[in-house]
């Protein structure tokens, strides 16, 4: 076995966003030895970008309860969400908010001192009735507040951090137990074997597979691809949420809060277009409904601008004071990136890739589950996943705004609780398989050799991949476009085998990191476009022009894509824990 530095912990957590840090804190507080690996400094994780807030039925502003929240989430998921996991999450939500408050998150208040809650898309009272107000926020920096509070708590609890270490691959033994990961220090390229009795993947989403995205550059789906390479199929990857209100041509997000506060979309004729698509909820309809509406307006020639390629978000009628008070940040974003002031001029808008609903399949205890013979969900011993990289599945075909911060803390905590039980039953480290370590090491060493031949550069291949995914696998999809897209992605994967980097140094070799990230993007892109091609219906964020209806008879099932065997499927868990199922209904807002 290669002679490399080794470190041993009870539990390894890959990813220091809200999901990873919530799990780490639970484990450290339970006296487990915990290592957290993060490729960027923890408080620079993508959770920091979440502005809008986190859902919980606290009923502080309007009447509410967890059962209504559950109904909205099931309906929002277009009936692809697992109802046991959704019940668990919605019931746990108020407690999750109070815990965060206890850790130091300064949630915004109402005059009576209780937590302020804003209305978000897809929220209703009384199972589909009037608009609810369910989203708790710390001004417009909820993610930042959560991340910093959890990080401070982890420092206090003595969690061990490997900052700016890049995790390469999972390590296993011959029986298939996952026993940690190979990582390297980005500063000097030194590899380290981190051995652990349990490993939790919490590496976040993969928006970087698309050209226009709200996601930071770090969101390259590393954990998802690590799971794929370890033989775990990815679930429901065709469901990628496009946020309806991205700044056209740039990708940055204009929070849903802008519409919550009274902003609305207009087309080239100045028409308030959402009245036609969602007569009741209008601009606060679910995200996929709004995204598709914008794309339809543009396709049908009612787009704005010289190229008629976007619509406009109108905020100027709210007045400068409201914009400044309730939506700080948005105004400056527009001034900085577009040179326009939304208090005077509408903002050019187009859907932008925002959230990965699919991911590593888990049960509601965070255990990664795979089909084995006739069992659709057999836990992989020692392997857990939580946060955006996981698919529990609480978001199904479409996530509701404010449900992701909730998901990451609820299931980060749940996974940690299960890990604590697992550690009690598995007290000793098992022996790593040499082959598993060798192959992880080879993936890194491939880029260490001096550049040979004239292979293509990483930047060229990455840009091409992102363009192909945008043109062939975004808001509108049909057979021809997807078939062509699959072929193009597969050709790019072939070309990547001969790619080169020009930097073979050890110190701060970011070219090598980018090459490894691109390999991960390819894994996620393959899973996404193959799953989209295979699903012959429209459901939630997956909208097919050639199969416009939802087809519950044939397609109310989860997709699974694996590198070895391609597509497979498993049933949706329609039975909640303690209440009646919500049977599928047409999803109208």
């Amino acid at each position: 076995m290669p002679d490399l530095p080794r470190r041993q912990f009870d539990s390894l957590i890959i990813g220091a966003g809200g999901g990873g840090l919530r799990a780490a804190l639970q484990l450290s507080n339970a006296e487990a030895s915990v290592a957290v690996v993060s490729k960027v400094f923890p408080t620079r994780s993508h959770t920091v970008a979440a502005q809008g807030g986190m859902n919980a039925a606290l009923a502080n502003v309007l009447p509410d309860n967890w059962h209504w929240h559950m109904f909205d989430t099931v309906k929002g998921s277009d009936y692809l969400g697992d109802q046991d996991a959704i019940e668990y999450m919605c019931r746990a939500a108020p407690q999750a908010v109070y815990e965060l408050e206890h850790f130091g998150v300064p949630f915004s208040r109402m005059d009576n001192g209780t937590i302020y809650q804003r209305p978000f898309g897809g929220q209703s009272q009384n199972f589909g009735g009037d608009q609810a107000a369910r989203t708790c926020a710390a001004a417009d920096r909820t993610g930042h507040a959560i991340l910093h509070s959890l990080y401070q708590q982890n420092i206090r609890a003595k969690t061990h951090f490997f900052d700016e270490y890049f995790a390469v691959d999972l390590l296993k033994d011959q029986q298939g137990y996952v026993l940690g990961a190979l990582a390297f220090d980005i500063h000097n390229g030194e590899p380290v074997v981190i051995e652990a009795k349990t490993t939790l993947l919490a590496t976040g989403g993969a928006g970087q597979i698309f050209r226009t995205t709200t996601n930071a550059l770090i969101n390259t789906g590393d954990g998802m691809s690590m799971a794929l390479r370890a033989g775990v199929p990815l679930q429901d990857m065709e469901f990628f949420q496009f946020h309806p209100t991205g700044i056209a041509g740039r990708g940055m997000l204009i929070t849903e809060g802008a519409r919550g506060e009274g902003g609305y979309l207009i087309n080239a004729d100045g028409e308030r277009m959402m009245e036609r698509y969602a007569p009741k909820a209008k601009d606060l309809a679910s995200r996929d409904v709004v995204s598709r509406a914008i794309a339809t307006e543009v396709r049908e020639g009612r787009g704005c601008g010289p190229n008629k390629d976007h619509v406009m978000l109108k905020l100027d009628h709210l007045g400068e004071d409201v914009i400044q008070k309730r939506l700080p940040g948005i105004r400056q974003t527009c001034i900085t990136f577009l040179g326009i002031d939304p208090a005077e001029t509408p903002i050019p808008i187009f859907p932008t890739a925002h959230y990965t609903m699919g991911g590593i399949p888990t049960n509601r205890h965070g255990q990664v589950v795979v089909p084995v013979k006739d069992t659709p969900e057999e836990p992989v011993p020692g392997l857990y996943a939580a946060g955006e990289c996981a698919c529990v599945s609480v978001h199904g075909a479409n996530r509701l705004g404010g449900n992701s911060l909730l998901d990451i803390v609820v299931f980060g905590r749940a996974a940690a609780n299960h890990i604590i039980e697992y550690l009690a039953d598995n007290r000793y480290h098992r022996r790593l398989d040499a082959g598993s370590l060798e192959s992880a090491l080879q993936r890194v060493q491939r880029w260490d050799s001096k550049p040979t031949g004239d292979g293509e550069s990483i930047a060229v291949l990455r840009d091409e991949l992102k363009a192909v995914m945008e043109n062939h696998c975004s808001v509108f999809r049909n057979e021809d476009v997807l078939t062509e897209g699959v072929a193009k992605v597969e050709q790019l994967v072939e070309r990547f085998k001969y790619a080169r980097i020009d930097d073979s140094s050890a110190v701060f070799n970011t070219a090598r990191v980018e090459a490894l990230e691109l390999e991960n993007l390819f894994g996620v892109a393959l899973a996404t476009i193959h799953s989209a091609h295979a699903r012959k219906e429209s459901r939630g964020a997956h909208s097919r022009i050639d199969y416009t209806e939802r087809d519950d008879m044939n397609w109310m099932r989860h997709s699974l894509y694996s590198l070895e065997t391609g597509m497979d499927y498993k049933p949706v868990r329609t039975k909640p824990i303690s209440v009646e199922s919500f049977p599928p209904k047409a999803r109208v807002y």
Binding site: R141, I186, A216, M252, Q332, F337, V507, T510, V513
Partner: protein, 89 residues
């Protein structure tokens, strides 16, 4: 790699942030000025990167000013680099 090359690579990695807005602003500036930045300018840039993401965003979106004049000038430079790129595209 030369020591200047290493320093640049390190700065580039530290421009990887949790927010797309920061990725775009910081990388646009760094790529534009990598050849011409003096040792001192690199040091100021590095100091600025110490700010937490949310604070850095507030500085770059002019919601806040740093107590250091040098950092404020740098922020203005970064904003300028962005606006000139925006008008190029």
């Amino acid at each position: 790699m030369s020591s200047a090359g290493i320093e640049f690579a390190e700065l580039k990695w530290r421009c990887r942030r949790g927010m797309l807005e920061l990725d775009i602003l910081l990388n646009t500036y760094l790529e534009k000025h990598r050849e011409t930045m003096s040792q001192h300018q690199r040091a100021v840039f590095s100091e600025m990167l110490e700010y937490p993401d949310q604070v850095l965003l507030d500085l770059l979106l002019s919601n806040m000013r740093s107590s250091k004049a040098e950092i404020n000038s740098l922020i203005t430079e970064i904003q300028r680099a962005q606006v000139s790129t925006a008008s190029e595209t």
